[in-house]
Symmetry: C2
Subunit: 273 residues, 2 copies
Protein backbone atom coordinates (compact mmCIF):
# COMPACT_ATOMS: atom_id res chain seq x y z
CA UNK A 1 0.00 0.00 0.00
CA UNK A 2 2.73 2.45 1.06
CA UNK A 3 5.71 0.16 0.34
CA UNK A 4 6.11 1.24 -3.30
CA UNK A 5 5.95 4.98 -2.64
CA UNK A 6 9.30 6.48 -3.66
CA UNK A 7 8.90 10.23 -3.18
CA UNK A 8 9.50 12.40 -0.12
CA UNK A 9 8.24 11.56 3.38
CA UNK A 10 9.05 13.79 6.36
CA UNK A 11 9.45 12.45 9.92
CA UNK A 12 10.27 13.68 13.42
CA UNK A 13 14.05 13.38 13.50
CA UNK A 14 16.89 13.29 14.08
CA UNK A 15 18.09 10.30 12.06
CA UNK A 16 17.76 6.95 13.91
CA UNK A 17 14.88 8.33 16.04
CA UNK A 18 12.03 5.88 16.70
CA UNK A 19 9.87 7.90 14.31
CA UNK A 20 12.58 7.42 11.67
CA UNK A 21 12.37 3.66 12.29
CA UNK A 22 8.55 3.76 11.97
CA UNK A 23 8.89 5.70 8.67
CA UNK A 24 11.43 3.17 7.33
CA UNK A 25 9.07 0.30 8.24
CA UNK A 26 6.14 1.81 6.32
CA UNK A 27 8.03 3.53 3.46
CA UNK A 28 11.05 1.33 2.61
CA UNK A 29 11.53 2.99 -0.81
CA UNK A 30 10.74 6.64 -0.03
CA UNK A 31 13.15 9.56 0.37
CA UNK A 32 12.91 10.14 4.12
CA UNK A 33 13.44 13.75 5.27
CA UNK A 34 14.31 14.50 8.92
CA UNK A 35 12.48 17.42 10.60
CA UNK A 36 13.56 19.11 13.85
CA UNK A 37 10.08 19.08 15.44
CA UNK A 38 6.49 17.86 15.15
CA UNK A 39 5.21 21.30 13.95
CA UNK A 40 7.70 21.15 11.05
CA UNK A 41 6.39 17.71 9.99
CA UNK A 42 2.82 19.08 9.85
CA UNK A 43 3.97 22.18 7.91
CA UNK A 44 5.89 20.12 5.35
CA UNK A 45 2.71 18.12 4.61
CA UNK A 46 0.47 21.22 4.57
CA UNK A 47 2.64 23.08 2.08
CA UNK A 48 3.02 19.95 -0.10
CA UNK A 49 6.81 19.87 0.10
CA UNK A 50 6.28 16.19 1.01
CA UNK A 51 3.36 13.84 0.26
CA UNK A 52 3.37 12.13 3.69
CA UNK A 53 4.63 12.95 7.19
CA UNK A 54 5.20 10.62 10.17
CA UNK A 55 4.76 11.68 13.82
CA UNK A 56 4.42 9.89 17.18
CA UNK A 57 0.98 10.20 18.83
CA UNK A 58 1.02 8.00 21.96
CA UNK A 59 3.33 5.86 24.09
CA UNK A 60 1.81 2.96 25.99
CA UNK A 61 3.35 3.98 29.31
CA UNK A 62 3.92 7.75 29.03
CA UNK A 63 0.66 8.68 27.27
CA UNK A 64 -0.28 11.00 24.42
CA UNK A 65 2.00 13.43 22.63
CA UNK A 66 0.21 16.73 23.29
CA UNK A 67 1.84 18.66 20.43
CA UNK A 68 0.63 16.09 17.89
CA UNK A 69 -2.95 16.28 19.20
CA UNK A 70 -2.89 20.09 19.15
CA UNK A 71 -1.69 20.18 15.53
CA UNK A 72 -4.23 17.52 14.43
CA UNK A 73 -6.90 19.93 15.64
CA UNK A 74 -5.56 23.07 13.99
CA UNK A 75 -4.07 21.68 10.80
CA UNK A 76 -5.81 20.70 7.56
CA UNK A 77 -3.96 17.38 7.26
CA UNK A 78 -5.66 14.00 7.66
CA UNK A 79 -4.49 10.83 9.39
CA UNK A 80 -4.17 8.30 6.55
CA UNK A 81 -2.42 5.39 8.31
CA UNK A 82 -1.28 4.21 11.75
CA UNK A 83 1.39 1.80 12.93
CA UNK A 84 3.14 0.98 16.19
CA UNK A 85 6.65 -0.07 17.18
CA UNK A 86 8.07 -1.82 20.23
CA UNK A 87 10.28 0.74 21.93
CA UNK A 88 13.42 -1.00 23.17
CA UNK A 89 16.19 0.91 24.87
CA UNK A 90 19.85 -0.06 25.21
CA UNK A 91 22.78 1.29 27.21
CA UNK A 92 25.49 2.41 24.76
CA UNK A 93 29.06 3.43 25.54
CA UNK A 94 32.74 3.09 24.66
CA UNK A 95 33.45 2.24 28.32
CA UNK A 96 32.64 -0.64 30.67
CA UNK A 97 29.42 -0.53 32.68
CA UNK A 98 31.31 -0.17 35.99
CA UNK A 99 33.16 2.89 34.65
CA UNK A 100 30.01 4.86 33.68
CA UNK A 101 29.65 8.12 35.63
CA UNK A 102 27.16 9.95 33.43
CA UNK A 103 24.21 8.84 31.26
CA UNK A 104 22.71 11.00 28.51
CA UNK A 105 19.22 10.44 27.09
CA UNK A 106 15.86 11.95 26.21
CA UNK A 107 13.77 12.51 29.39
CA UNK A 108 11.09 9.99 28.22
CA UNK A 109 13.75 7.30 27.72
CA UNK A 110 15.27 8.03 31.16
CA UNK A 111 11.73 7.77 32.65
CA UNK A 112 11.08 4.46 30.85
CA UNK A 113 14.32 2.93 32.25
CA UNK A 114 14.09 4.39 35.77
CA UNK A 115 14.10 1.05 37.65
CA UNK A 116 16.86 -0.49 35.54
CA UNK A 117 19.09 2.55 36.12
CA UNK A 118 18.44 2.45 39.89
CA UNK A 119 19.39 -1.24 40.03
CA UNK A 120 22.37 -1.27 37.67
CA UNK A 121 24.02 2.17 37.57
CA UNK A 122 22.60 3.88 40.67
CA UNK A 123 25.47 6.36 41.02
CA UNK A 124 25.49 7.63 37.45
CA UNK A 125 24.49 11.27 36.89
CA UNK A 126 21.47 11.45 34.53
CA UNK A 127 21.52 14.23 31.90
CA UNK A 128 18.41 15.03 29.84
CA UNK A 129 19.02 16.06 26.22
CA UNK A 130 16.69 16.73 23.29
CA UNK A 131 16.98 13.32 21.52
CA UNK A 132 18.49 9.88 22.00
CA UNK A 133 20.61 10.60 18.91
CA UNK A 134 22.08 13.70 20.57
CA UNK A 135 22.67 11.56 23.68
CA UNK A 136 24.69 9.02 21.66
CA UNK A 137 26.73 11.78 20.05
CA UNK A 138 27.61 13.23 23.48
CA UNK A 139 28.43 9.76 24.84
CA UNK A 140 30.80 9.17 21.92
CA UNK A 141 32.75 12.32 22.87
CA UNK A 142 32.78 12.43 26.68
CA UNK A 143 34.94 10.17 28.89
CA UNK A 144 33.14 7.66 31.17
CA UNK A 145 29.72 8.50 29.80
CA UNK A 146 26.96 6.42 28.19
CA UNK A 147 23.71 6.98 26.30
CA UNK A 148 20.32 5.30 26.51
CA UNK A 149 19.13 4.92 22.91
CA UNK A 150 18.16 2.33 20.28
CA UNK A 151 20.42 -0.34 18.75
CA UNK A 152 20.19 1.58 15.44
CA UNK A 153 21.69 4.62 17.16
CA UNK A 154 24.57 2.48 18.48
CA UNK A 155 25.49 1.55 14.91
CA UNK A 156 25.40 5.14 13.70
CA UNK A 157 27.74 6.45 16.40
CA UNK A 158 29.94 3.35 16.69
CA UNK A 159 29.11 2.73 20.34
CA UNK A 160 29.18 -0.66 22.08
CA UNK A 161 25.93 -2.14 23.45
CA UNK A 162 26.45 -2.70 27.19
CA UNK A 163 22.87 -3.83 27.90
CA UNK A 164 19.74 -4.41 25.79
CA UNK A 165 16.00 -4.15 26.56
CA UNK A 166 16.53 -2.08 29.68
CA UNK A 167 13.05 -0.44 29.64
CA UNK A 168 11.04 -1.15 32.79
CA UNK A 169 7.78 -2.18 31.07
CA UNK A 170 7.85 -5.18 28.75
CA UNK A 171 4.98 -3.76 26.65
CA UNK A 172 6.56 -0.39 25.86
CA UNK A 173 5.07 0.60 22.49
CA UNK A 174 4.57 3.85 20.59
CA UNK A 175 1.85 4.54 18.02
CA UNK A 176 2.81 6.61 14.96
CA UNK A 177 0.53 8.38 12.46
CA UNK A 178 1.02 8.98 8.75
CA UNK A 179 -0.30 12.43 7.78
CA UNK A 180 -1.30 13.58 4.31
CA UNK A 181 -3.58 16.04 2.51
CA UNK A 182 -5.31 13.18 0.67
CA UNK A 183 -6.33 9.64 1.61
CA UNK A 184 -4.54 6.52 0.38
CA UNK A 185 -6.61 5.11 -2.52
CA UNK A 186 -8.33 1.74 -1.91
CA UNK A 187 -7.07 1.46 1.67
CA UNK A 188 -9.26 -0.63 4.01
CA UNK A 189 -10.00 1.86 6.78
CA UNK A 190 -10.62 0.14 10.09
CA UNK A 191 -10.11 2.99 12.56
CA UNK A 192 -11.33 6.61 12.81
CA UNK A 193 -10.14 9.61 14.85
CA UNK A 194 -12.51 12.49 15.59
CA UNK A 195 -12.36 15.56 17.86
CA UNK A 196 -15.28 17.41 19.46
CA UNK A 197 -16.26 19.85 22.21
CA UNK A 198 -19.36 19.52 24.37
CA UNK A 199 -21.52 22.12 26.05
CA UNK A 200 -20.45 22.84 29.66
CA UNK A 201 -23.40 21.24 31.48
CA UNK A 202 -24.25 18.05 33.37
CA UNK A 203 -24.52 15.05 31.05
CA UNK A 204 -22.97 16.76 28.02
CA UNK A 205 -20.18 14.21 27.45
CA UNK A 206 -22.66 11.42 28.19
CA UNK A 207 -24.99 12.66 25.45
CA UNK A 208 -22.07 12.84 23.03
CA UNK A 209 -20.83 9.30 23.49
CA UNK A 210 -24.29 7.74 23.82
CA UNK A 211 -24.39 7.51 20.03
CA UNK A 212 -21.49 5.05 19.99
CA UNK A 213 -23.30 2.79 22.46
CA UNK A 214 -26.53 2.93 20.45
CA UNK A 215 -24.76 1.83 17.26
CA UNK A 216 -22.49 -0.69 19.04
CA UNK A 217 -19.25 1.04 18.01
CA UNK A 218 -16.17 0.30 20.14
CA UNK A 219 -14.20 3.34 21.36
CA UNK A 220 -10.50 2.45 21.59
CA UNK A 221 -9.39 5.78 23.07
CA UNK A 222 -10.83 8.94 24.61
CA UNK A 223 -8.55 11.79 25.58
CA UNK A 224 -9.19 15.36 26.68
CA UNK A 225 -6.98 18.31 25.74
CA UNK A 226 -7.26 21.97 26.78
CA UNK A 227 -9.35 23.91 24.23
CA UNK A 228 -6.85 26.82 24.37
CA UNK A 229 -9.91 29.08 23.99
CA UNK A 230 -10.93 29.34 27.64
CA UNK A 231 -9.36 27.98 30.83
CA UNK A 232 -10.70 24.52 31.86
CA UNK A 233 -12.57 23.95 28.61
CA UNK A 234 -11.66 20.82 26.67
CA UNK A 235 -11.59 19.20 23.27
CA UNK A 236 -12.13 15.43 23.30
CA UNK A 237 -10.19 13.17 20.93
CA UNK A 238 -11.91 9.85 20.28
CA UNK A 239 -10.63 6.84 18.33
CA UNK A 240 -13.19 4.21 17.31
CA UNK A 241 -13.17 0.99 15.33
CA UNK A 242 -14.48 1.30 11.76
CA UNK A 243 -14.67 3.72 8.83
CA UNK A 244 -16.52 7.04 9.29
CA UNK A 245 -18.21 6.34 5.93
CA UNK A 246 -19.87 3.11 7.15
CA UNK A 247 -23.59 3.42 7.64
CA UNK A 248 -23.50 2.83 11.43
CA UNK A 249 -20.63 5.28 11.92
CA UNK A 250 -22.44 7.93 9.89
CA UNK A 251 -25.57 7.59 12.01
CA UNK A 252 -23.56 7.70 15.25
CA UNK A 253 -21.63 10.79 14.14
CA UNK A 254 -24.84 12.58 13.11
CA UNK A 255 -26.27 12.03 16.59
CA UNK A 256 -22.99 13.02 18.21
CA UNK A 257 -22.85 16.31 16.27
CA UNK A 258 -26.26 17.33 17.61
CA UNK A 259 -24.71 17.45 21.10
CA UNK A 260 -21.45 19.20 20.15
CA UNK A 261 -20.43 22.83 19.83
CA UNK A 262 -17.43 21.74 17.72
CA UNK A 263 -16.81 18.60 15.64
CA UNK A 264 -14.03 17.46 13.28
CA UNK A 265 -13.22 14.16 11.55
CA UNK A 266 -9.42 13.85 11.54
CA UNK A 267 -9.29 10.69 9.47
CA UNK A 268 -10.38 7.10 8.79
CA UNK A 269 -7.40 4.89 8.10
CA UNK A 270 -5.85 1.42 8.04
CA UNK A 271 -3.72 0.18 10.96
CA UNK A 272 -0.47 -1.53 9.86
CA UNK A 273 0.77 -4.10 12.38
CA UNK B 1 -8.57 26.80 57.06
CA UNK B 2 -4.94 26.29 56.05
CA UNK B 3 -3.71 29.83 56.80
CA UNK B 4 -2.86 29.14 60.45
CA UNK B 5 -0.94 25.93 59.82
CA UNK B 6 2.67 26.51 60.90
CA UNK B 7 4.41 23.15 60.44
CA UNK B 8 6.17 21.67 57.41
CA UNK B 9 4.71 21.70 53.87
CA UNK B 10 6.65 20.29 50.92
CA UNK B 11 6.32 21.65 47.37
CA UNK B 12 7.73 21.08 43.88
CA UNK B 13 10.74 23.39 43.85
CA UNK B 14 13.07 25.06 43.31
CA UNK B 15 12.39 28.21 45.33
CA UNK B 16 10.32 30.83 43.45
CA UNK B 17 8.70 28.11 41.29
CA UNK B 18 4.98 28.60 40.57
CA UNK B 19 4.24 25.70 42.95
CA UNK B 20 6.21 27.58 45.63
CA UNK B 21 3.99 30.62 44.98
CA UNK B 22 0.84 28.43 45.26
CA UNK B 23 2.14 26.98 48.55
CA UNK B 24 2.83 30.49 49.92
CA UNK B 25 -0.69 31.61 48.97
CA UNK B 26 -2.35 28.71 50.84
CA UNK B 27 0.12 28.30 53.74
CA UNK B 28 1.43 31.80 54.63
CA UNK B 29 2.69 30.67 58.06
CA UNK B 30 4.03 27.18 57.28
CA UNK B 31 7.65 26.05 56.95
CA UNK B 32 7.85 25.45 53.21
CA UNK B 33 10.28 22.73 52.08
CA UNK B 34 11.47 22.58 48.44
CA UNK B 35 11.58 19.15 46.75
CA UNK B 36 13.47 18.35 43.52
CA UNK B 37 10.58 16.48 41.88
CA UNK B 38 6.89 15.53 42.10
CA UNK B 39 7.69 11.94 43.30
CA UNK B 40 9.64 13.42 46.24
CA UNK B 41 6.64 15.57 47.26
CA UNK B 42 4.40 12.47 47.35
CA UNK B 43 7.02 10.50 49.31
CA UNK B 44 7.47 13.26 51.91
CA UNK B 45 3.70 13.18 52.59
CA UNK B 46 3.51 9.36 52.59
CA UNK B 47 6.32 8.97 55.14
CA UNK B 48 4.88 11.81 57.30
CA UNK B 49 8.02 13.94 57.16
CA UNK B 50 5.57 16.75 56.22
CA UNK B 51 1.83 17.10 56.93
CA UNK B 52 0.96 18.54 53.48
CA UNK B 53 2.52 18.57 49.99
CA UNK B 54 1.76 20.85 47.03
CA UNK B 55 2.05 19.74 43.37
CA UNK B 56 0.83 21.09 40.00
CA UNK B 57 -1.85 18.95 38.29
CA UNK B 58 -2.96 20.83 35.16
CA UNK B 59 -2.16 23.89 33.06
CA UNK B 60 -5.00 25.50 31.12
CA UNK B 61 -3.10 25.52 27.82
CA UNK B 62 -0.56 22.68 28.13
CA UNK B 63 -2.78 20.09 29.84
CA UNK B 64 -2.36 17.61 32.68
CA UNK B 65 0.86 16.82 34.53
CA UNK B 66 1.18 13.08 33.85
CA UNK B 67 3.55 12.34 36.74
CA UNK B 68 1.08 13.82 39.26
CA UNK B 69 -1.79 11.70 37.88
CA UNK B 70 0.35 8.54 37.95
CA UNK B 71 1.34 9.11 41.60
CA UNK B 72 -2.26 9.93 42.63
CA UNK B 73 -3.14 6.46 41.38
CA UNK B 74 -0.34 4.54 43.09
CA UNK B 75 0.09 6.51 46.29
CA UNK B 76 -1.96 6.35 49.49
CA UNK B 77 -2.25 10.15 49.81
CA UNK B 78 -5.52 12.06 49.37
CA UNK B 79 -6.25 15.35 47.64
CA UNK B 80 -7.41 17.63 50.47
CA UNK B 81 -7.51 21.03 48.73
CA UNK B 82 -7.14 22.67 45.31
CA UNK B 83 -6.21 26.15 44.16
CA UNK B 84 -5.14 27.82 40.92
CA UNK B 85 -2.76 30.62 39.99
CA UNK B 86 -2.48 32.89 36.95
CA UNK B 87 0.80 31.96 35.29
CA UNK B 88 2.49 35.15 34.10
CA UNK B 89 5.88 35.07 32.44
CA UNK B 90 8.41 37.90 32.15
CA UNK B 91 11.64 38.37 30.21
CA UNK B 92 14.48 38.91 32.72
CA UNK B 93 18.04 40.01 31.98
CA UNK B 94 20.91 42.29 32.93
CA UNK B 95 21.08 43.44 29.28
CA UNK B 96 18.86 45.43 26.91
CA UNK B 97 16.27 43.57 24.86
CA UNK B 98 18.09 44.34 21.56
CA UNK B 99 21.29 42.78 22.95
CA UNK B 100 19.74 39.40 23.86
CA UNK B 101 21.25 36.49 21.92
CA UNK B 102 20.13 33.56 24.09
CA UNK B 103 17.03 32.86 26.20
CA UNK B 104 16.92 30.22 28.94
CA UNK B 105 13.68 28.77 30.30
CA UNK B 106 11.67 25.66 31.12
CA UNK B 107 10.28 24.07 27.91
CA UNK B 108 6.64 24.70 29.02
CA UNK B 109 7.38 28.41 29.56
CA UNK B 110 9.09 28.65 26.14
CA UNK B 111 6.02 26.95 24.60
CA UNK B 112 3.65 29.34 26.38
CA UNK B 113 5.54 32.41 25.03
CA UNK B 114 6.19 31.07 21.50
CA UNK B 115 4.40 33.90 19.63
CA UNK B 116 5.83 36.70 21.77
CA UNK B 117 9.36 35.38 21.23
CA UNK B 118 8.82 35.12 17.45
CA UNK B 119 7.60 38.74 17.32
CA UNK B 120 10.05 40.38 19.74
CA UNK B 121 13.31 38.41 19.87
CA UNK B 122 13.09 36.22 16.75
CA UNK B 123 16.86 35.72 16.45
CA UNK B 124 17.51 34.62 20.04
CA UNK B 125 18.67 31.04 20.59
CA UNK B 126 16.22 29.20 22.90
CA UNK B 127 17.73 26.90 25.52
CA UNK B 128 15.54 24.50 27.54
CA UNK B 129 16.56 23.96 31.16
CA UNK B 130 14.93 22.09 34.07
CA UNK B 131 13.28 25.08 35.83
CA UNK B 132 12.67 28.80 35.37
CA UNK B 133 14.78 29.34 38.48
CA UNK B 134 17.74 27.55 36.86
CA UNK B 135 17.10 29.70 33.76
CA UNK B 136 17.37 32.91 35.79
CA UNK B 137 20.57 31.72 37.45
CA UNK B 138 22.15 31.00 34.05
CA UNK B 139 20.96 34.37 32.69
CA UNK B 140 22.57 36.14 35.65
CA UNK B 141 25.93 34.57 34.74
CA UNK B 142 26.08 34.53 30.92
CA UNK B 143 26.68 37.62 28.75
CA UNK B 144 23.84 38.76 26.43
CA UNK B 145 21.42 36.17 27.76
CA UNK B 146 17.94 36.39 29.31
CA UNK B 147 15.51 34.12 31.14
CA UNK B 148 11.76 33.67 30.89
CA UNK B 149 10.50 33.31 34.44
CA UNK B 150 8.24 34.92 37.06
CA UNK B 151 8.64 38.39 38.63
CA UNK B 152 9.44 36.66 41.94
CA UNK B 153 12.39 34.93 40.26
CA UNK B 154 13.65 38.31 38.98
CA UNK B 155 13.86 39.57 42.57
CA UNK B 156 15.72 36.50 43.78
CA UNK B 157 18.43 36.70 41.11
CA UNK B 158 18.60 40.50 40.86
CA UNK B 159 17.61 40.59 37.19
CA UNK B 160 15.83 43.48 35.44
CA UNK B 161 12.33 42.95 34.03
CA UNK B 162 12.51 43.73 30.28
CA UNK B 163 8.90 42.73 29.51
CA UNK B 164 5.95 41.47 31.57
CA UNK B 165 2.98 39.23 30.74
CA UNK B 166 4.61 37.81 27.64
CA UNK B 167 2.58 34.52 27.63
CA UNK B 168 0.56 34.04 24.43
CA UNK B 169 -2.76 33.11 26.09
CA UNK B 170 -4.37 35.65 28.41
CA UNK B 171 -6.02 32.87 30.47
CA UNK B 172 -2.87 30.92 31.31
CA UNK B 173 -3.63 29.24 34.66
CA UNK B 174 -2.30 26.24 36.56
CA UNK B 175 -4.24 24.14 39.08
CA UNK B 176 -2.35 22.92 42.17
CA UNK B 177 -3.33 20.18 44.64
CA UNK B 178 -2.65 19.91 48.36
CA UNK B 179 -1.89 16.31 49.33
CA UNK B 180 -2.16 14.77 52.80
CA UNK B 181 -2.75 11.46 54.56
CA UNK B 182 -5.80 12.88 56.37
CA UNK B 183 -8.57 15.29 55.39
CA UNK B 184 -8.81 18.89 56.64
CA UNK B 185 -11.36 18.92 59.50
CA UNK B 186 -14.64 20.80 58.84
CA UNK B 187 -13.68 21.74 55.27
CA UNK B 188 -16.62 22.31 52.88
CA UNK B 189 -15.83 19.84 50.12
CA UNK B 190 -17.21 20.94 46.77
CA UNK B 191 -15.18 18.85 44.33
CA UNK B 192 -14.20 15.16 44.07
CA UNK B 193 -11.52 13.31 42.06
CA UNK B 194 -11.93 9.61 41.29
CA UNK B 195 -10.08 7.13 39.05
CA UNK B 196 -11.46 4.00 37.40
CA UNK B 197 -10.89 1.43 34.64
CA UNK B 198 -13.61 0.03 32.43
CA UNK B 199 -13.97 -3.31 30.71
CA UNK B 200 -12.60 -3.29 27.14
CA UNK B 201 -15.91 -3.57 25.23
CA UNK B 202 -18.33 -1.37 23.32
CA UNK B 203 -20.25 0.98 25.62
CA UNK B 204 -18.08 0.38 28.69
CA UNK B 205 -17.17 4.03 29.31
CA UNK B 206 -20.74 5.00 28.49
CA UNK B 207 -22.06 2.68 31.19
CA UNK B 208 -19.56 4.11 33.68
CA UNK B 209 -20.47 7.76 33.22
CA UNK B 210 -24.21 7.17 32.82
CA UNK B 211 -24.51 7.28 36.60
CA UNK B 212 -23.42 10.93 36.68
CA UNK B 213 -26.12 11.84 34.16
CA UNK B 214 -28.81 9.93 36.11
CA UNK B 215 -27.99 11.81 39.33
CA UNK B 216 -27.43 15.18 37.58
CA UNK B 217 -23.80 15.51 38.68
CA UNK B 218 -21.58 17.82 36.62
CA UNK B 219 -18.25 16.36 35.45
CA UNK B 220 -15.64 19.14 35.29
CA UNK B 221 -12.85 16.96 33.84
CA UNK B 222 -12.30 13.55 32.29
CA UNK B 223 -8.81 12.42 31.38
CA UNK B 224 -7.36 9.09 30.29
CA UNK B 225 -3.90 7.84 31.29
CA UNK B 226 -2.11 4.63 30.26
CA UNK B 227 -2.84 1.85 32.79
CA UNK B 228 0.86 0.81 32.71
CA UNK B 229 -0.45 -2.76 33.04
CA UNK B 230 -1.10 -3.53 29.37
CA UNK B 231 -0.48 -1.50 26.22
CA UNK B 232 -3.47 0.64 25.14
CA UNK B 233 -5.43 0.07 28.36
CA UNK B 234 -6.41 3.18 30.28
CA UNK B 235 -7.33 4.55 33.67
CA UNK B 236 -9.85 7.41 33.62
CA UNK B 237 -9.52 10.34 36.00
CA UNK B 238 -12.79 12.16 36.60
CA UNK B 239 -13.40 15.38 38.56
CA UNK B 240 -16.99 16.16 39.52
CA UNK B 241 -18.79 18.86 41.49
CA UNK B 242 -19.77 17.86 45.03
CA UNK B 243 -18.66 15.73 47.97
CA UNK B 244 -18.39 11.94 47.50
CA UNK B 245 -20.25 11.59 50.83
CA UNK B 246 -23.37 13.38 49.55
CA UNK B 247 -26.31 11.08 48.97
CA UNK B 248 -26.48 11.64 45.18
CA UNK B 249 -22.73 11.16 44.76
CA UNK B 250 -22.84 7.95 46.80
CA UNK B 251 -25.60 6.53 44.60
CA UNK B 252 -23.79 7.55 41.40
CA UNK B 253 -20.50 6.02 42.56
CA UNK B 254 -22.23 2.76 43.56
CA UNK B 255 -23.66 2.46 40.03
CA UNK B 256 -20.33 3.43 38.48
CA UNK B 257 -18.45 0.76 40.45
CA UNK B 258 -20.72 -1.97 39.05
CA UNK B 259 -19.29 -1.20 35.59
CA UNK B 260 -15.64 -0.88 36.61
CA UNK B 261 -12.81 -3.35 36.95
CA UNK B 262 -10.92 -0.82 39.12
CA UNK B 263 -12.16 2.13 41.20
CA UNK B 264 -10.51 4.59 43.61
CA UNK B 265 -11.68 7.79 45.33
CA UNK B 266 -8.68 10.13 45.41
CA UNK B 267 -10.35 12.83 47.49
CA UNK B 268 -13.23 15.23 48.11
CA UNK B 269 -11.95 18.71 48.86
CA UNK B 270 -12.56 22.47 48.91
CA UNK B 271 -11.40 24.70 46.04
CA UNK B 272 -9.64 27.89 47.18
CA UNK B 273 -9.96 30.73 44.67
Amino acid sequence: MLEEFSEKVSYLGPETSFTHQAAMKMFPKAQLVSMPGIPEVFKSVENSSVKFGVVPVENSTEGSVGVTLDFLLESGVKIVCETSLDIKHALLSEFKIEEIEKVFSHPQALAQCRNWIASNIPKAELVSVSSTSMAAELASKEQKSAAIASLMTAEKFGLKVLAENIQDFSFNKTRFLVLSLSEIPNAKKNKTTIAFSTMHKAGALFNCIKAFKVYDINLTKIESRPSKKNAWEYVFFVDFEGDAQHSNSQKALEELKENCIFFKTIGSFPVIQ
